[in-house]
Symmetry: none
């Protein structure tokens, strides 16, 4: 559990991403119970409110279920997880495309570059 936090983006969005990655990687299996907000906050060295906000966001997306008095757990719905995974991927791609745009590449140049690199990987 790295909990790498930069200061250039809201902390809670970074928490959201990293928790997602843990779910997708199986560090938190489907249906498993999460530590308490306070514990996770301490673990990540952030304020409990900030962790709370991240978890609320994850619940909104359907990846986490809240049991009012007895903590939270990861959803057991594999489709939900699949959906969230695709969404995260799209966000990452979107970020890349934005960076490329800033570097002055147009869409054709971007696609060419990416296609070439994927082909290289195949070899």
């Amino acid at each position: 559990m790295p909990w790498e936090l930069k200061t250039d983006r809201p902390i809670y969005t970074q928490l959201v991403e990293q928790i997602k990655l843990m779910v997708f990687s199986g560090a938190y299996p489907l249906g498993s119970r999460l530590p308490s907000v306070r514990d996770m906050a301490q673990e990540a060295a952030v304020n409990p409110n900030t962790m709370q906000r991240a978890l609320a966001k994850l619940e909104e997306e359907g990846l986490i279920i809240t049991h009012r008095t007895s903590g939270r757990s990861i959803t057991e719905d594999a489709r939900m997880v699949e959906l969230a995974k695709t969404k995260l991927a799209q966000e990452q791609i979107s970020e890349l495309l934005e960076k490329m745009r800033l570097l002055g590449f147009d869409q054709e140049a971007i696609l060419t570059l990416i296609n070439d690199m994927v082909k290289e990987m195949k070899q």
Copy 2:
């Protein structure tokens, strides 16, 4: 100038990336003289040795020229800059592809996703 530094990768590589971005974005124009190593290190709040190493790396790539007696300056060779830009782009793409692989997408799925998103941007 953000100078955002995480602790999960060598600091000097992060300095390299960020200085490149400044060059590509025009913050440091072609041919312009750079501040002293000492000043840049203080600016970024890193050890001068670390900054030194980053600048050496940049010189290796041909982006920066060292004048024995009078400090360093950005290369005037536009082709050099173009080359470095492409290399940076490739690194970014490589990072993305690695992340996608970790998420469990294979090459076809990745390409499909990216192509769809670029098409969307066109609209």
Copy 3:
């Protein structure tokens, strides 16, 4: 016992509603004796005169019986309770219809919406 009191409506009408709900929910069983006006007023943090007025209203409706010498009690007449329940329901519905009217829905639109939602609940 929440005793939630807003300032936008006469307090005594709000007391009336809340006491009714307690009766309907069984918090005050049929035939049971009520606390003294003074005690109930203190409980709800209102002036005894206000509580008095609420109880008088409830007696008017036949939900409460006053025994000259020995305080008040809930009626034992189940029909009375049933009647009061229906009346409360009608008031709630009336409030809703008024709100919907303010939102710009006409009667047909309102009925359609409600019917659709009840059907959904059935599923």
Copy 4:
């Protein structure tokens, strides 16, 4: 502008509802600029963070647009407003149905009551 706030539900949800009502009633016309978060918070006598949360929720629903440095305004998209209106109506109806259920009415009884009352209004 009443700003009636009870303590039995989260304040920010009540703020959301009341601001919606102002929009639907035309108190805040489509496209008009909203007061600053701080001003609205003072107006409603709540903490700026609480008002912030309400406004964030309204932006999520598409009813409000945020201009990073120059305040917020009501959306100009009439369809958005229509959608939000229907959603609010459904919530109100849902609340009513829940109350009726607590009073012990089943679905048929509820529908009968409502239909009768709407017919009465027509006359």
